[in-house]
């Protein structure tokens, strides 16, 4: 095994990452039981440098390795054949650098060349195709869904995305900014901005104050609370349980309005900046947040209890869209969805810094279905509310600290990696700098990148009318995937 082991948010010298033969790197990846969090290429003179990062969730370590591939190489034997967790990464690598993973079982476009997309098709007397999107009936993002059905039953769902590909990674190299980072995925403003800011700070080894870290963590948890409540309402809305939809909707507003009071934006835009945060939380604000969260918790408790008591709600949620733990593992599902399928991963704790290390997670017994996806949100809302309260008391110990530290210049030939657990799951930002200290490659991985395929698995053998319910439970990002 030839790895360089780092912690989350650590700057290392780019050349410290071992560069090994591609064949031996592949052999390493095929046999390891650690899950990949990054697998991407970067231009390296005459070659392409392939970086891989594996997450050791138990030890909280990230294992880095790399390999050089000559640009004249046209293909290689696919890793996915031996380790299915690489299926999306290899497709992305192929699309970005044109090196074909031979024998990849599902080598389809990720974001580009959508015109040449070949759908999986089935034939038979009663099989029919249902094509949905890219323009949908509701106000949601564009994405094309192709169902292969027999009557009401879904055999296969194929998801074609990429309609919102903006070239974010290249933009990040050219002109990195907080404004760009928080626009990548509008429902994870804080998570993205935290990941970006941590990455950029580490490039110059800027140390920010604990107070700023706490405020970032508070905002991150507030975002989680707000989106989770909204999603619970949306799940109930899709099964036409109108009271739930409306009560959760109102409650979510309380949370995002508190964000508005903290930062001037309901989604926390402009709150986090490289070097710290732009807005302070004083004692008065702190009390206000706590009193809002107490109300929120009460309402959510009451509503969730009522909803779960309703037999019609339970009948829709239970055993709908089940993804087995094995499938989740094979597909490398992450974050909320991974946890709802029984995977015990949460990068807040697995790669914890001093902010989260004192906190405890509540136990959760996953049932892998739509019910599990509903219930885990409730559990995480409760957790996050207690976390925010904890952070606010911690904040009182650091009242005198500055909220902003001037960031230092980037160190040449650096490599930094930052993992942030957004409400959807782990967001990975990686940046490298060249000899002159300019950013040479910026890589982003959204949790949706892992999880979209999980949705396909969830709806398999379910009724097509249960698709919206499964989709809301996953609630994946289109723009975070498309980048």
């Amino acid at each position: 095994m030839n790895y360089y082991v780092i912690k989350n948010n650590q700057r290392i010298n780019l050349l410290d990452i071992p560069t090994i033969e591609f064949e031996s790197l592949k052999a390493q990846l095929a046999i390891t039981n650690l899950r990949p969090i990054a697998f991407f290429g970067a231009d390296w003179g005459q070659n392409i440098k392939l970086y891989t990062a594996l997450a050791d969730d138990e030890r909280g370590e990230i294992l880095l390795s790399s390999s050089l591939i000559d640009k004249s190489v046209k293909g290689y034997e696919s890793i996915t054949k031996d380790n299915s967790q690489y299926h999306m990464f290899e497709r992305e690598f192929y699309e970005q650098f044109g090196i074909k993973p031979e024998g990849h079982p599902w080598l389809k476009p990720v974001r580009k060349n959508l015109d040449n997309y070949e759908f999986f098709e089935m034939e038979g007397e009663q099989t029919h195709q249902v094509a949905v999107g890219p323009i949908h009936a509701g106000v949601i993002e564009p994405g094309h869904f192709r169902f292969m059905c027999q009557g009401e039953k879904i055999y296969n769902l194929e998801i074609m995305l990429g309609y919102q590909h903006r070239g974010v990674e290249d933009l990040m190299v050219k002109n990195p900014s907080n404004q760009l980072a928080e626009s990548i995925c509008g429902d994870s403003v804080i998570a993205y901005n935290n990941a970006y800011s941590q990455t950029i700070e580490q490039l110059g080894e800027t140390k920010i104050s604990t107070k700023a870290k706490l405020i970032r963590a508070i905002a991150l948890e507030m975002e989680r609370i707000a989106i989770h409540i909204g999603d619970m309402g949306a799940i109930l809305g899709d099964i036409a349980y109108l009271v739930g939809k409306e009560v959760y909707g109102v409650t979510r507003t309380l949370v995002i309005n508190t964000m508005l009071e903290i930062s001037g934006s309901r989604f926390g835009r402009g709150l986090v900046t490289v070097g710290g945060v732009n807005f302070d939380i004083d004692k008065k604000m702190s009390d206000k947040i706590i009193s809002t969260l107490i109300t929120v918790e009460k309402t959510v408790d009451k509503m969730t209890k009522a909803a779960l008591k309703s037999s019609t709600v339970m009948s829709r949620l239970e055993k709908t869209g089940t993804v087995s733990t094995e499938t989740a593992q094979e597909l490398n599902l992450v974050g909320l969805i991974g946890r709802s399928c029984g995977l015990n991963i949460d990068s807040r704790f697995d790669f914890s810094d001093e902010i989260y290390s004192a906190l405890k997670r509540r136990p959760f017994s996953a049932t892998n279905d739509a019910y599990s996806r509903f219930l885990i949100r409730y559990k995480e809302i409760k957790e996050s509310i207690s976390f925010v309260k904890h952070f606010l008391t911690e904040l009182e110990k650091h009242l005198d600290e500055p909220i902003y530290t001037e960031p230092k210049a980037f160190i040449p030939n650096s490599f930094t990696l930052s993992v942030v657990e957004g409400w959807r799951g782990e967001i990975v930002h990686i940046a490298t700098t060249d000899e002159s200290g300019k950013i040479s490659r910026y890589k982003i991985k959204d949790p949706s990148f892992n999880n979209w395929y999980g949705l396909s698995m969830a709806v398999r053998n379910n009724g097509i009318s249960d698709f919206p319910l499964c989709n809301k439970g996953f609630d994946l990002s289109y723009c975070g995937f498309d980048l």
């Binding site: 029919h128 195709q129 249902v130 094509a131 949905v132 949908h136 009936a137 509701g138 009401e152 109930l236 809305g237 899709d238 099964i239 036409a240 349980y241 109108l242 009271v243 939809k245 409306e246 009560v247 109102v250 309703s310 019609t312 709600v313 009948s315 829709r316 709908t320 009724g463 097509i464 009318s465 249960d466 698709f467 919206p468």
Partner: protein, 309 residues
């Protein structure tokens, strides 16, 4: 004669305009349970007026059927309403066996709605049509059994004889009227695409039944279709009202009671929609079988009454 003309006028106005109010009241009730203020009860009326003023967009894949169907659906629904007993238990066209004509005229409308949905070539509308056809197949026999039983029971084959159910048969009549009302309410939820069978407010193409069939219709056509669906709801509510209202009341009391029952039914529908979630598509059949089994009970009771035990 003058009195009859007055009743006919009231009937026609009720058929045409009460549907908007009923929809408005249902939406208001849902808003109330959701803690919202909600739109005015006249909003469905304004919406329809707005739709009538709008242009329609017609998909290039459609044929004449798509253009023709909304008119047929509206015409058949309105025509069917003239056979049904409405305000004051009065049927405008009162002939023996009218309930058979009534059902098949509605059936004709539904047939056109189905082929119009298929005509668009959209996979959603095809699915919607398939579901609608499937559910209707189960609803229809139950509806027939209920109406046939009560009409046969009354001894004359006029549709409006259902108004006499309670008065003519006392305890039997009350039992039958209550059972018939419940099963017609179930039918109303199915036929008028309400929760728990269908959800008219969310726009999830993959789960809808009736709403998805009119997805391609716009402007004038869409206005006609939604108006027709409102009329159908009022017809079914009228049947329930006429089962419940005993005959022999004076006209003004009867009419008052009629509107009261329509109002209560609208509030009830809104409340049901707020209180429960939608059924899983595969469980809708079980819900429809509630209606079928009640129909069989009514048929048995009728047989017992006619032939003795």
């Amino acid at each position: 004669m003058d009195k009859n003309i007055a009743i006919i006028m009231i009937n026609i106005l009720t058929v045409l305009f009460v549907p908007f109010l009923v929809l408005g009241i249902i939406n208001k009730t849902k808003a109330f349970w959701g803690g919202r203020k909600g739109a005015s009860v006249f909003q469905p009326f304004y919406n329809t007026i707005k739709l009538f003023k709008k242009d329609k967009t017609i998909s290039t894949t459609t044929s004449w059927i798509f253009n023709f169907a909304p008119v047929v659906v509206f015409a058949t629904t309105l025509f069917a309403a003239f056979f049904a007993p409405m305000v004051n238990g009065y049927s405008i066209i009162n002939i023996a066996g009218a309930f058979v004509i009534f059902s098949y005229i509605l059936g004709l409308g539904k047939f056109f709605a189905l082929i119009s949905a298929m005509d668009t070539g959209s996979s959603f509308e095809g699915m919607g049509a398939s579901r609608e056809a499937c559910f209707t197949t189960i609803v229809e026999p139950a509806f027939f059994i209920i109406l046939a039983s009560t009409v046969v029971l009354s001894g004359n084959y006029n549709f409006n004889s259902i108004t006499n159910t309670i008065s003519n048969f006392q305890s039997y009549g009350i039992l039958i009227a209550v059972l018939a009302s419940i099963s017609l309410l179930v039918m109303l939820l199915i036929e008028c695409s309400r929760i728990p069978v269908d959800d008219p407010s969310t726009h999830l193409e993959l789960t809808m039944i009736h709403e998805v069939m009119i997805l391609d219709n716009s402007g004038f056509d869409f206005a006609l279709l939604s108006w027709a669906s409102g009329i159908k709801m009022v017809i079914l509510m009228s049947l329930i009202a006429n089962f419940i209202i005993p005959s022999g009341l004076n006209n003004s009391l009867n009419i008052l009671l009629y509107y009261l029952i329509i109002f209560v039914l609208a509030v009830l529908t809104g409340t049901i929609e707020s209180a429960i979630a939608r059924l899983r598509m595969s469980h809708v059949f079980e819900f429809i079988f509630v209606m079928s089994s009640l129909a069989l009970v009514i048929a048995s009771l009728t047989a017992v009454k006619i032939y003795g035990v």
